[in-house]
Point group: C2
Chain length 327, copies 2
């Protein structure tokens, strides 16, 4: 910012921050120059000096469909507030992935951001001064406020839907338990719904595949090749769900006449590739929105109403589920 207005930096700073003690004439002159040059003070330098920046950080490992969806909700929550949004996607340039949230936070907090939303963090023992909210944390809830989807209820929802249609042999496709907390919870929902309906769980119908297209397809093929194959499948993540639809088609099984399928979306885009798929949907945007709202509460020095929000999922019935053959 050159001294186009013929005053000192200090004076400009005062004008920018609406400090009193500057003559009206000077204010006008400086304002004019500012407007003309489209100038704004460097966020970086300012935040190095000041405590507050009025900027909220959303820290993500990467921007993919899930986090992008979440960002929309976060942006909505911030509209009408005095805060600005900075999304930081480090993409793991530094060391490995584990503990990324702590490194990113260390990189941004104290300066640049007043608080942060951590999206799908691996660990939660963050302590750095700034307020933090975690969305969909891998490991359980700790002291940090969290927002997540009710995966247990979601698993139950999918399974009850199929049971309600008359299915009794219902397959389950999950992920290896190490991955996230959400996988086992969906399976537990499946099991508890079966139990409630008095249907014994058949271990042969419960399968696990890695997050890999081929692996998912092979697993589905095995499941559907069983002598007493299931009449319905609850595919508890989008990759499994898509694989199920494809493999069923390739095996000449009609959906839903021969096989009903219910998916569980991590990603809203799944609808585009499989518009017919009945799915359990997570309120991803709402998760982002709530996370920011909680963070704003904390920044305002208030205790948030809830420290751990668990949002219900919703079942969207589409063409891929119907009563079993012979009903």
């Amino acid at each position: 910012m050159a001294e186009h207005a013929g005053v000192s930096v200090a004076t400009v700073s005062k004008v920018l921050n609406d400090r009193h003690g500057v003559s009206a004439a000077t204010v006008d002159r400086v304002r004019a120059v500012i407007a003309e040059l489209g100038y704004e003070s460097s966020l970086v330098a300012r935040s190095l000096r000041n405590q507050r920046t009025n900027v909220i950080g959303i820290l993500v490992w990467d921007i993919e469909p899930f986090s992008a969806e979440l960002l929309k909700g976060a942006a909505r929550a911030i509209r009408g507030t005095a805060y600005e949004l900075v999304v930081y996607a480090g993409g793991g340039k530094g060391s490995g992935r584990v503990g990324w949230e702590r490194r990113y936070l260390s990189r941004l907090s104290g300066t640049l951001i007043d608080g942060a939303v951590l999206v799908t963090p691996t660990v939660l023992d963050v302590d750095g001064g700034a307020p933090v909210v975690a969305v969909d944390p891998h490991s359980g809830r700790e002291t940090v406020p969290t927002v997540d989807a009710d995966n247990l209820q979601g698993g139950r929802l999918a399974t009850e839907h199929l049971i309600g249609l008359g299915h009794r042999r219902i397959g389950f496709l999950g992920r290896p338990p190490r991955d996230l907390e959400s996988g086992p919870l969906r399976e537990e929902g499946y099991r508890s719904a079966l139990a409630d309906a008095g249907i014994p769980a058949d271990p042969a119908l419960v399968r696990v595949a890695d997050y890999d297209e081929n692996d998912a397809r092979n697993t589905v093929r095995e499941l559907l090749s069983l002598p007493d194959r299931p009449t319905a499948v609850f595919a508890a993540n989008d990759m499994s769900a898509i694989a199920t639809m494809e493999v069923a088609a390739s095996m000449g099984l009609r959906v839903p006449e021969d096989l009903s399928v219910v998916g569980f979306d991590n990603v809203p885009e799944s609808v585009m590739s499989e518009p017919a798929l009945t799915t359990v949907e997570q309120p991803i945007q709402m998760m982002g929105r709530l996370a920011v709202e909680i963070l704003l509460e904390m920044l305002a020095g208030r205790e948030p109403a809830q420290r751990h929000v668990r949002l219900p999922t919703r079942l969207i019935p589409r063409a891929s589920s119907a009563p079993p053959p012979g009903r």
Copy 2:
């Protein structure tokens, strides 16, 4: 960063930046402390001191479906590079909307980011030192490299599709011309396709509505209430398209038996609300990806292969378009 390791800040800095002139023992000790604390140097302080930050900024007015989609493409382009991504959504806290890109740039460039992608900027006379690429600029291309969708070709595509099905009375729903450059271009595509097919353009069939749900619906109702009403409508933005589907249904018109509809998506989500809609689709992710790739070229000191990229749109045929009644 406390001096847990019992050395000076300078030494830590050297270790962090892999500078030579530090004993192996010291390096190890410092590294251990860094790893333990999950420390990373403050992006802010570092970027204030250094010229390069290895961070690319994506400057958006707000995060909504269009920009969120674009971010996915940008994130993909950045994977595997040494750059990190910062998305800045100012949301217009400062002054009004016009010229926001210049203010944001002034706020971030020079410090924090090495270069920026401006998403849907209003003006382009940005000059600030850092390299900049504009995506979908409102006003025409200037010196700044740009990436946009070929709205002219898209408008033609939609219209040719309907003509090919046998329609001759094709309505057009657009926006007031002031808004963006893209609106008039879609209309021009519509007109030129009609002209090429030797169909005279009927001014009564060309309507304009603001970006407002009610206004859009009223306009559609007028159009469909015409004595000699169109057998097809090209709704050149998502709001018009959705309004057309709804109003047609409310008027007892079956789509596509009585009326064919083709939309033009600004937003991939439209599919979810109207899965049956035939649409012209913009390659939004690709736009984000290319913008970042061009920026990376510039940052590497190379002249990008193309300074103005215009990507073709694609027609996705769905159930809402069919030959006109009586064919």
